[in-house]
């Protein structure tokens, strides 16, 4: 084991305060819903295009 191991910056860490947790969950939910909505919209567009072409 390298004896300079202690100098490594911990960049993968558990969040330890409630306020940050809540902010993160809110943001995660926001991005997830935007992703789902946009995905559904794209599928609808593809379906519409299919009906136009075929």
């Amino acid at each position: 084991m390298n004896n300079l191991e202690f100098l490594k910056i911990d960049t993968d860490t558990k969040i330890i305060d409630d306020e940050s947790r809540k902010k993160d969950q809110k943001k995660a939910l926001q991005i997830l819903s935007m992703g789902i909505f946009s995905g559904l919209l794209l599928t609808a567009a593809q379906y519409y295009l299919y009906l136009k072409i075929v």
């Binding site: 993968d12 902010k23 943001k27 997830l32 789902i36 995905g39 559904l40 794209l42 593809q46 379906y47």
Partner: protein, 234 residues
């Protein structure tokens, strides 16, 4: 006159700070100072098997007394160093004895309630011995947020705004592009093969994957990390 008195856990987490200029309480500067001194101490211990006892500035000295659980730091002018050293040892002994008498085994200020009483007694002791002159009582309640804020800033994590680093962002961009490719190819196959329109609904999942990947890349924010209460700033 002692300019600053600071007590830090040997891990670098500050637990007590007094500054004769800015009055008692933590500032980002004192938090950085604690981390810096803990790092130097740890460095000396790992590489030279010894502890740092003095850091000399142009017109001031840091005097350090390291104990099993904590380090006491005085910032003093470069006069009467031996007197300050004696004071430092006394203060350090007092705190050490108090910790032993109160059966305190760790100095985690966030989980150990008895630390608060210990720090108040310590503050009282410093006042009785005329080592601090401030009338404002020491409070350690508010330092948690400051400490967290600094800790988060040092790695780049911003709650609710950024919880992934460059490498992790690129992974999400690549996932989004792969999903886009799957969606385009599958759509092409459905069109060219003249398959039923209901097959298009199978594209919902890759289509969602496209936008979830791109949005995570753009927002520098990972949904999985957000729900699992972690950040990965790599």
């Amino acid at each position: 006159m002692i300019t600053e008195i600071q007590v830090i856990q040997n891990s670098g987490v500050p637990i007590y700070h007094y500054n004769s200029i800015d009055d008692v309480g933590y500032t980002n500067e004192s938090l950085l100072q604690a981390s810096f001194i803990a790092a130097i101490n740890q460095f000396a211990l790992e590489l030279k098997k010894g502890t740092v006892q003095r850091i000399e500035l142009e017109n001031q000295y840091y005097l350090l007394q390291k104990e099993e659980l904590f380090t006491v730091i005085f910032l003093v002018p470069p006069k009467n160093e031996s007197e300050y050293l004696n004071e430092l040892k006394k203060v350090s002994n007092y705190l050490n004895e108090k910790i032993k008498n109160d059966n305190i085994i760790n100095l985690d200020i966030y989980s150990n309630k008895s630390i608060e009483q210990l720090l108040n007694d310590f503050d009282e002791y410093l006042r009785e011995n005329n080592l601090i002159k401030s009338e404002k009582k020491f409070e350690n309640k508010f330092n948690k947020n400051q400490f967290l804020d600094l800790m988060y800033k040092s790695v780049g994590y911003v709650p609710g705004e950024c919880n992934i680093g460059k490498t992790e962002r690129m992974k999400r961009l690549i996932i989004g592009l792969i999903m886009l490719l799957i969606s385009i190819v599958a759509y092409g196959v459905i069109l060219l093969q003249g398959l039923s329109s209901s097959y298009i609904f199978l594209l919902i999942l890759p289509n969602i994957g496209v936008f979830v990947g791109f949005y995570q890349y753009k927002a520098k924010f990972c949904i999985y990390n957000g729900f699992n209460e972690i950040y990965v700033m790599e």
